[in-house]
């Protein structure tokens, strides 16, 4: 009756229709109840993990897995040769589809890898009789070739461009899949061989990326453009539904049975003992029947859904840090939330930095040596004026990690000894730099700071302007250069049209090579070196180190390169943001937004009995 009352006046006709519908529904349910078998009644309810993301993938094709959202899904729907250990920190490589780490030739140029036996694609109409066939080495060759095929419009080719013998030529010759690539071969159904142009120690890391996921050619041919929403892979999950608001993945019942090993995954009882992960020992992932992913870009909506219990996981919006955290250092969950949720505060695997466009003679390199020196002083003064403490406090709740240089804390080569002291501003030094080099309010150049039209970006600009005001930079000489979309902004800075630009870089793999390459001269725009930085010593060191395996010698070279960029005052850098992740205590899990990323889905389990206990029963 209450329900009718809430609905307001209901006409007799509508009442009759509703009653009719209810009657039909009841009749439809009755035979189902009667016919249910004993085994169905005894079956446990499906286990569901409800994940939230602050953005949505536009495609599920691994060739388009450029965003963190697309990558999360790609590595669950498809298989990559390698992944990162679930629990080991720092991150460590682990074979995934590959049966062991690669065998590398003495000169570092030939990588041989074997696939695990008995791995099958999911059943799909793309295959004869709808039965998924075994994954073969040839599928990997095809998948990498797709990245270089202009028809695919793939976004991952840069990972292997100029690296694999004959691959770039294959593209130039028309991307004919019948034509073999000398450096990319399937020696047999389960053996792959990659031959490199020059040593590339990061190759194995690139094979953890969603871009390198293995796709079957039959499915690509069968679905054509629709392949973007009809994933056919061999990953732990298969797609049930997908749209711009959500995706539902269900367990791939044919996924290879690999019992979970705490020690192999790098379990640390001290820091991870409270998460209930011990129960995973011996169980074979995937451990959930169903993964429901909600794509909610709006912070408030995502947070409210989480608090209402509609989600099991959230990356907490910065605006909620005040409500969520009891303490900042170390970040600690408040008592009310701690009853129901676990917290982890991870540093992002990347950093935010503001680059000077060194190609702009107003502030970068200048043909006149005197002006070049003055520009250097100007850049250094701006860096000295930048208040990282305040930037961190305002935009990252004071829990970001501020450091100088271009090697972030997530990189193993980060120099903790040197960077443990927070970067401090020096206004006096900044003012002196300006005055000693003849800069004054009248002759200072107009600074154009580029950003997309969002509230946060605008506030960052206003904050920068206020910092510069403190060293006498006239307000009217610090101008915004706004862009409606990130695409417009990126186009402008790739065309070297933006004088000062803030970039957030997420590392593709835990190796400082991935960040120092951002300042390598030949990578200048439209490449990844958006600062258009070009220092001959730096470039020489980069070339020298590019073929080196991780070692103390290589780390020393990276650190020298880091210091060169700092001395040249080419970038205002930087901060690694701390991400606050919350998840339901009813789950045994360790979520990750970094290198493990989407790989953790397969290990999420409902908290309960341990695998060993189950086995004993």
């Amino acid at each position: 009756m209450t329900c009718w009352g809430k609905l307001g006046p209901v006409t007799p006709l509508i009442k009759s229709l509703l009653l009719l519908c209810l009657s039909i529904a009841s009749m439809a349910m009755l035979p189902g109840c009667n016919n249910r078998s004993e085994s169905e009644e005894a079956a446990p309810p499906a286990t569901v993990y409800r994940h939230s993301m602050d953005g949505a993938p536009s495609s599920l094709d691994p060739a388009q897995a450029s965003s963190i959202y697309a990558n999360f899904l790609a590595v669950n729907l498809y298989d990559t040769l390698y992944r990162y250990k679930y629990l080991a920190r720092p991150y460590e490589l682990e074979p995934n589809l590959a049966d062991g780490l690669p065998e590398v030739s003495a000169d570092g140029l030939i990588y041989t890898m074997h696939l695990k036996p008995g791995v099958h694609f999911i059943d799909d109409p793309a295959f004869p009789e709808g039965r998924g066939r075994a994954v073969r080495a040839e599928d990997f060759v095809y998948s990498i070739k797709r990245q270089f095929d202009p028809a695919t419009r793939a976004q991952g080719a840069w990972l292997w461009q100029g690296r694999i013998v004959g691959l770039d030529e294959w593209k130039e010759n028309g991307s004919d899949y019948q034509q073999e690539v000398p450096g990319l071969k399937a020696l047999d159904d389960r053996t792959l061989q990659i031959q490199l142009v020059s040593p590339f120690p990061q190759l194995t890391h690139t094979l953890t990326q969603g871009f390198s996921a293995v796709v079957p050619r039959e499915a690509v041919d069968h679905y054509g453009q629709e392949f973007a929403i009809h994933p056919v892979g061999s990953g732990p999950y298969r797609l049930q539904t997908f749209n711009s608001a959500s995706a539902v993945l269900v367990r791939n019942s044919r996924f290879r049975q690999e019992p979970f090993s705490l020690s192999a995954e790098g379990f640390d009882a001290v820091s991870q003992g409270h998460l209930g992960l011990e129960q995973l020992e011996g169980k074979a992932p995937p451990l959930m029947d169903r993964i429901e992913i909600e794509f909610v870009a709006e912070d408030a909506a995502r947070w409210n859904s989480f608090i209402a219990g509609e989600l099991d996981f959230i990356k907490v919006p910065v605006s909620q840090f005040d409500q969520v955290l009891e303490n900042r250092d170390p970040p600690d969950l408040n008592a009310t939330l701690a009853e129901n949720y676990h917290l982890i505060a991870n540093l992002e695997s990347g950093f935010v930095h503001t680059d000077f466009n060194m190609d702009d003679p107003r502030i970068g390199y200048h043909p006149d040596p005197d002006r070049n020196t003055r520009n250097h002083a100007l850049r250094c003064a701006i860096i000295e004026a930048f208040d990282w403490r305040k930037r961190n406090e305002i935009f990252y709740y004071g829990i970001g990690y501020v450091f100088d240089g271009i090697i972030p804390p997530a990189a193993p080569e980060f120099d903790l000894q040197k960077h443990h002291v927070p970067v401090a501003r020096d206004l006096e030094k900044a003012r002196n730099l300006l005055s000693d080099h003849g800069w004054n309010a009248e002759n200072l150049p107009v600074i154009e700071y580029g950003f997309t039209s969002s509230v946060t970006e605008r506030q960052m600009f206003e904050q920068l302007r206020s910092f510069l005001g403190e060293i006498g930079y006239p307000q009217e000489k610090v101008k915004p250069l706004t862009f409606a979309t990130y695409g417009d902004y990126a186009r402008a800075y790739l065309n070297r049209e933006v004088m000062l630009m803030t970039i957030g870089w997420t590392m593709d793999y835990p190796d400082a090579e991935n960040t120092v390459q951002l300042f390598y001269g030949p990578n200048a725009s439209p490449g990844s070196n958006t600062a258009n930085y070009n220092n001959s010593r730096f470039n020489q060191l980069y070339r020298e180190s590019s073929g080196m395996q991780p070692s103390a010698g290589r780390t020393a070279i990276y650190r020298e390169m880091n210091q060169i960029v700092i001395d040249d005052c080419a970038t205002i850098s930087g901060v690694s943001r701390r991400l606050i992740l919350l998840w339901n205590r009813d789950l045994a899990a360790l979520p990750d937004r970094s290198f493990v990323g989407g790989f953790f889905f397969r290990f999420v389990a409902p908290r309960g009995q341990s695998g060993a206990a189950q086995a004993a029963e």
Partner: protein, 281 residues
């Protein structure tokens, strides 16, 4: 009694209208204070702490960056008046010119062309069109103004056209034509001055609409590029309200409400004063 004195008498009788005029005058004084450098000059300084509550130092509190919300609210009055004045004046002039041409040359190709243009512009959803123009011209300081002027003139043009069609058959116009005065001279000297009441009312209406549109466009990131406006303050407040801080939201929305209410009351009073039926009462 002259027409002007009659209108002024009518206006004085309308208390709500006078209150509106007073509110607008106060806001104008604030805007003048900003123009002359007396008020709101520290709107971009980030000298305070994050989200400080209202107090002696910061009357309306501070925002995320520690900027004084009072200073920003006051500076935004200048932004509102600048946008309102530029858009209302230019759109009224454009509407007057095109409307009078269409009315004077009614049923000619000039009239048809202007009506076609007006019909096309009116058929596009207003905010969608303004946002599209502002987006297409992004980077230009005057993008938002151009977008609004391009759409606001149509109503004025329609009203002026109808009035000119009515006036052009009046005896004084026929006399002017009879003595051989050129069309443009008759239009500018004898016809347009008789549409002044429409133009005056339309200017106030366009002023209000321009301020509202600026706030919406700035909120969407398509409006003010360099500076501050109530729209930008409201956009900032979307994040602050989540964290339980309402100063930005309240300051911007109350200031906007007060100015719009003042203008609306004054505009209504002006319409009543010019209405001959009201005069007869």
């Amino acid at each position: 009694m002259t027409s002007d004195s009659r209108i002024w008498r009518q206006l004085k009788k309308n208390r709500a209208g006078l209150a509106g005029l007073l509110i607008v005058a106060v806001f104008f004084l604030l805007a003048a204070g900003v123009w002359t450098g007396i008020l709101g000059q520290d709107w971009s300084d980030a000298g305070g702490g994050r989200w400080e509550p209202p107090g002696k130092e910061f009357w309306f509190g501070t925002n995320l960056l520690g900027q004084d919300i009072f200073q920003r609210s006051i500076y935004s009055v200048r932004t509102a008046f600048e946008v309102g004045m530029v858009v209302s004046i230019f759109s009224t002039v454009l509407g007057a010119v095109l409307g009078s041409l269409a009315g004077w040359y009614s049923d000619s190709w000039i009239d048809h062309a202007i009506l076609w243009l007006k019909g096309v512009l009116d058929s596009i959803p207003f905010y969608l069109f303004v946002a599209a123009v502002a987006y297409a011209l992004q980077g230009q300081d005057w993008a938002m103004h151009i977008a609004m002027i391009a759409t606001f003139w149509t109503t004025t043009g329609r009203l002026v056209r109808a009035e000119v069609m009515k006036i052009k058959s009046r005896e004084f116009v026929l006399s002017a034509r009879a003595i051989g005065l050129p069309d443009l001279l008759i239009l500018s000297r004898h016809v347009l001055p008789n549409t002044l009441h429409i133009l005056l009312i339309q200017t106030t209406i366009a002023f209000v609409a321009a301020i509202k549109t600026e706030v919406i466009l700035s909120f969407l990131g398509l409006g003010v590029h360099d500076g501050v406006s109530w729209g930008l303050m409201l956009a900032e407040s979307t994040q602050e309200v989540l964290a339980g801080h309402f100063s930005n939201f309240l300051a911007a929305s109350l200031m906007l409400f007060a100015l719009l209410m003042g203008f609306n009351l004054f505009s209504d009073a002006l319409q009543d004063a010019y209405d001959p039926k009201q005069a007869a009462i």
